[in-house]
Chain length 214, copies 2
């Protein structure tokens, strides 16, 4: 870990992370070679191994950087105050915004959730990932609980609802060509992002059924 350079040029380390993030998101951990990463940066393979002593470490570093960005926005969004319903709307909306701004994020996150078989779950990097995930899930869980005891949300199983809500938040921006095919337009288009956000918030608020049908 060296100090960032005084110039504005990104360090080699950051450029490696950028390229690796893009590639891992597209093809997954085992679908990407270190040579490919090195070529993308314009370095030799050995230079990449100088910055990250193994492929697993590089992958973990990519994941941690993404999780930190998300956690940062999410926690700030939650802290901004309001009733539970207002805070839920805002933090889900902000979450969608981060994922929409960085097209690699949702896909890599989703992949990483079932690529742990491939990776050393223990070790310092594994724990850092684990803690970053906890830093996002725990405040979310608290928010749901708070809203339920305040009577703003329906009484429901917090953990099951959390697991259910992750899907519609993350999947659309991870779905790539499939999502494009379903929508007929690019999922990352500003208009599509707005529409997805409002449809999701409506779904969370009132579900799908018409009010008169109750």
């Amino acid at each position: 870990m060296t100090i960032a350079p005084l110039k504005n040029e990104p360090s080699s380390r950051d450029r490696i992370l950028d390229v690796a993030e893009e590639l891992f998101a597209r093809r997954g951990y085992s679908g990407v070679g270190m040579k490919e990463v090195a070529d993308g940066v314009g370095l030799g393979k050995s230079s990449v191994f100088h910055h990250f002593k193994s492929k697993a470490e590089l992958y973990a570093a990519v994941c941690i950087r993404i999780l930190a960005r998300i956690e940062d926005r999410f926690v700030r969004s939650l802290a901004a105050g309001g009733t539970p319903a207002v805070r839920l709307d805002r933090c889900v909306g902000d979450l969608l915004d981060v994922l929409a701004e960085h097209p690699t994020h949702a896909r890599l996150l989703l992949r990483s959730m079932f690529e742990d078989d491939d990776l050393p779950d223990d070790g310092p990097e594994g724990r850092a990932v684990y803690e970053a995930v906890g830093g996002i899930l725990e405040p979310f869980s608290s928010l749901l609980k708070e809203g339920m005891s305040a009577g703003e949300f329906r009484l429901a199983s917090v953990s099951h609802v959390m697991l259910l809500l992750i899907g519609p938040i993350v999947f659309p921006f991870a779905s790539g060509e499939f999502g494009q095919q379903v929508l007929g337009k690019d999922v990352f288009d500003a208009a599509q992002v707005r529409r997805l956000k409002s449809e999701l918030l409506d779904l969370v608020r009132v579900g799908l059924h018409a009010p008169s049908a109750e």
Copy 2:
């Protein structure tokens, strides 16, 4: 493609598909080697290549078998009649049941949605996958449209709602250790499946907010 044997023992081809399905679900296309598949079946690697002329073909065969199972149940569930709201409940519930009965399915399906970069998208297998997906999405889209014109569902963008609903249906059963960690119990436990189903159906029906909060 040979005729199934008269005995009850599954053919080598089916046993290869079973093993490959399990492995591809756990570690993805490029994370699995043909040697590993062969060892799992108890055959030599060359014997696997005798039944499937390439790794990509094996992967496609696994995907097609899964999609066929899902499409079969889904289409029968839709055809069983009732109002759009009743049919939506039933087919979403049945969909969760298939995914819960075959723990490999959700994970492999989700993976396959963003592993197309790795695979030959064209060719006969690619098209078979494409058509199977269409056979599931199209009737689902029709159902939503029908319910909206009948006034049973809120007016909303059908395509956006579809993309949003895939997440909570598929993700929980694809989430593996992560889901287990969130719930504190095995996602594929009968009790958890029941709970997930009822929570999802409630969410689709009335959302998360309490009726009094409207």
